[in-house]
């Protein structure tokens, strides 16, 4: 008899649990921001910074009274750094009807989940840099950093003008992020007459780089460009020193090679590496914010923290300019639009969004010394005319 009761009760409890878990609703006068990012998997350090960026901005905004009097509520969904999981997470996320979605960062994820949000009409702020994302006519997606093809313009100018690079070797991670950046860079460089002497793909999460580095070292390249994720970069840099690759050629990179996380893993081996970064914790506009992060988390922030923080304030700035929580108006307004620090102090640097959702602003050339960024040059926006309101 007990068994029979049990056997009826168990399915009943399961059903009730199922119903309850969908019953949760939010307070009516709050507005929801969804954070969908790489909490676990290969992108974990990136996702952590991204989430913290949104949360810190939201805390500040809520303490200052919210946006148009409404408090922001956030919820986070993990993509496990895998594209199919990110699709599921997005589908799950839009059911809570957020006003905007912050994320994802991994390009391979963003490329496939952006259409879900486009259909749902929920504006998306992505941390991805693969050029393809904004080349598909999606009017719903906005970047928080340079698209790789735009930043590579700056990189190429720097490599050819300052370093007079003639022969280049490139090691990249073979996914949408790495391949996207590699394709953009190679196209621009060959147009400038630079010879690509070695073109080496690596796997995401790869452990050993001996063969790849030996290949690069055996060429007569004068510069080695590395475009991998933080974790692989952190493993590769010590191997580069051990194998003496840096004695033969200049080691340069873009953003991921120079983040706090890469430096943490590579230690001293990161010193001397040069590269182009969109956002640096030692840049004057960002210094105070970086210090706040360090005080709170006891470690250094990376660019994804700033990207997420700034994007959250961009949403606030826009909603206040529009005067209502209107997703369609937000989309329309943000295209071909410049936001100035003098109007919105927390966006940290003047920022321009073009008709595709790509951004333009100042960026920096840095060199790593003693585990810290040292800014060697501030590079103006690609088209300074966009900031003429200043």
């Amino acid at each position: 008899m007990i068994r029979r009761i049990l056997s009826i009760c168990i399915p009943l409890v399961l059903t009730v649990a199922l119903v309850l878990s969908f019953g949760a609703t939010a307070k009516a006068d709050n507005v929801k921001f969804a954070i969908v990012c790489e909490i676990s998997g290969g992108g974990a350090p990136v996702g952590k910074n991204w989430e913290r960026g949104v949360l810190m901005a939201v805390d500040e905004i809520n303490q200052a009274g919210g946006i148009l009097g409404k408090k922001i509520e956030t919820f986070t969904l993990d993509t496990k750094s895998e594209a199919p999981v990110s699709v599921a997470a997005m589908k799950k996320g839009i059911e809570q009807k957020p006003f905007v979605v912050m994320g994802t960062i991994y390009s391979s994820s963003t490329i496939v989940n952006m259409s879900i949000l486009e259909k749902a009409g929920i504006p998306q702020f992505t941390g991805s840099e693969a050029p393809k994302i904004t080349q598909q006519g999606n009017q719903n997606i906005f970047r928080s950093s340079y698209s790789a093809d735009l930043s590579m313009k700056k990189v190429v100018k720097w490599l050819t003008d300052v370093h007079q690079v003639k022969k280049l070797a490139i090691i990249y991670v073979n996914n949408a992020f790495g391949k996207g950046g590699r394709d953009a860079l190679v196209e621009l460089l060959t147009a400038k007459g630079v010879e690509l002497v070695s073109d080496i793909p690596t796997e995401p999460g790869q452990m050993d780089f001996t063969g790849e580095l030996a290949r690069a070292k055996s060429t007569d390249a004068d510069t080695l460009f590395i475009y991998c994720h933080e974790e692989e970069s952190g493993r590769m840099l010590p191997a580069i020193r051990e194998m003496g690759v840096d004695k033969k050629m200049r080691i340069v990179g873009h953003t991921t090679l120079l983040t706090a996380d890469t430096i943490r893993l590579a230690g001293k081996a990161a010193d001397g590496v040069q590269g182009h970064v969109g956002l640096s914790p030692v840049a004057p506009p960002l210094k105070a914010l970086a210090d706040k992060y360090i005080a709170k988390y006891n470690e250094g922030p990376d660019h994804n923290f700033f990207k997420a923080y700034i994007s959250t304030y961009v949403v606030k700035a826009l909603v206040e300019e529009i005067g209502a929580f209107d997703q369609q108006k937000l989309r329309d307004k943000l295209h071909n639009h410049t936001l100035y620090v003098r109007d919105h102090p927390n966006i940290m640097m003047d920022i321009y969004y073009d008709e595709k959702g790509d951004i333009d602003r100042e960026s920096f050339l840095v060199e790593i010394q003693d585990g810290q960024h040292v800014i060697t040059k501030t590079i103006p926006p690609l088209e300074p005319a966009r900031f003429k309101g200043n």
């Binding site: 068994r3 029979r4 049990l6 056997s7 009826i8 399961l14 649990a17 199922l18 878990s21 969908f22 895998e82 594209a83 199919p84 699709v87 599921a88 589908k91 799950k92 839009i94 059911e95 391979s108 490329i111 496939v112 259409s115 393809k132 073979n174 996914n175 949408a176 790495g178 391949k179 793909p201 995401p204």
Partner: protein
């Protein structure tokens, strides 16, 4: 406890059972307002199909395969690349067919070697398929993957919406499961079972081990191919990373946890891995740890899999023994 009557599987009861199953598969398309839950239901069907294929290989023919993800990839890429050029209705069976042929080829070593060697060969096959998908960019799109995979149309019927596409998936899954059911209850299926229980005896009774093992392998692989072909339009895009080794491991766990060699096993396994995490949302992050732990406990205490629980549930509710779906 007094003896329990066994439920007999009469043709009528079997038909009713199948209609119920079809209902369970199709129901979410009409009843669930949440697109996310619908998506999970679609995934469950696809996983069931793949796991059922592995169940043929593992549960009925006693072989191990760690290449189900690769065969899914083969089916998925066939549909993704050919459904715009030919038609989904051609590409889907073609994907299954290619998987079948490759399954035959991969099955050959399985005649010669056992256990870890076969695990290794299939695992290696999975990695090599992954590398080819990743690096033959001109054909497969490489690491970018394939985008905008259209959902099929059949004359006036359009399977573009999530609901209608789910019905299509459910129908295909049910149809294939029905075929399997019918096959396993034929002479042929008994031969399969004979192999698993005693190779020597089966051989002495005149069962050609060689052909049956090969066929089991190939058919099981073809299931995965078709499941992959259904997955591609569901996601709308595919890239090689989906079809990695970890995915193959998951199917193995699914079949074993569900109950290998039992017809209902793969279905139960697929539900445990897709739907249960949603029910126990509180423990979401812990879910996979719990699942792995449960898998180990099931292996130790319930060697026949979670299907044992189903049997018990059936018996306590109806007072009869759960029907034996395959002989």
């Amino acid at each position: 406890m007094n003896t329990v009557k066994a439920s007999k599987v009469t043709p009528l009861r079997a038909s009713i059972g199948w209609l119920c199953l079809l209902g369970i598969f199709v129901l979410p398309a009409f009843s669930v307002s949440s697109q996310y839950i619908l998506y999970l239901a679609s995934l469950t069907c696809i996983y069931t199909l793949t796991a059922a294929g592995l169940n043929l290989i593992l549960g009925y023919a006693g072989q191990i395969s760690l290449a189900q993800a690769a065969f899914m990839g083969i089916g998925a890429y066939t549909v993704a690349l050919l459904s715009t050029k030919l038609s989904f209705w051609v590409a889907l069976p073609l994907g299954g067919g290619i998987a079948f042929v490759l399954g035959l080829v991969l099955g050959f070593p399985s005649l010669k070697v056992k256990h870890h060697y076969l695990a290794m060969i299939t695992l290696g096959f999975n990695i090599i398929v992954y590398l080819i998908l990743m690096n033959e960019q001109e054909i497969t799109g490489g690491s970018y993957g394939v985008f905008n995979i259209p959902r099929p149309k059949a004359g006036p019927i359009d399977f573009t919406s999530n609901e209608s596409y789910h019905i299509l998936i459910a129908l295909v899954t049910c149809f294939i499961m029905l075929l399997t059911y019918w096959t396993l209850n034929s002479q042929w299926g008994r031969a399969f079972k004979g192999i698993r229980e005693n190779e020597l005896r089966a051989e002495m009774l005149g069962v050609s081990l060689r052909n049956y093992k090969l066929l089991a392998f190939a058919i099981g692989s073809a299931f995965a191919g078709i499941a992959g072909g259904l997955l591609a339009p569901l996601l709308g895009y595919i890239d090689p990373t989906i079809f990695n080794l970890g995915f193959s491991f998951q199917f193995l766990l699914m079949v074993i946890v569900g109950g290998s060699g039992r017809f209902e096993g793969p279905f139960i396994g697929a539900i445990i891995i897709t739907i249960f995490p949603e029910i126990f949302r509180v423990a979401e992050r812990l879910y996979f740890v719990i699942f792995a732990l449960a898998a180990m406990l099931i292996l130790i205490f319930m060697p026949k899999g979670a299907v044992t629980l189903w049997d018990w549930l059936f018996q306590t509710i109806t007072g009869r023994e759960a029907p034996k779906l395959t002989k």
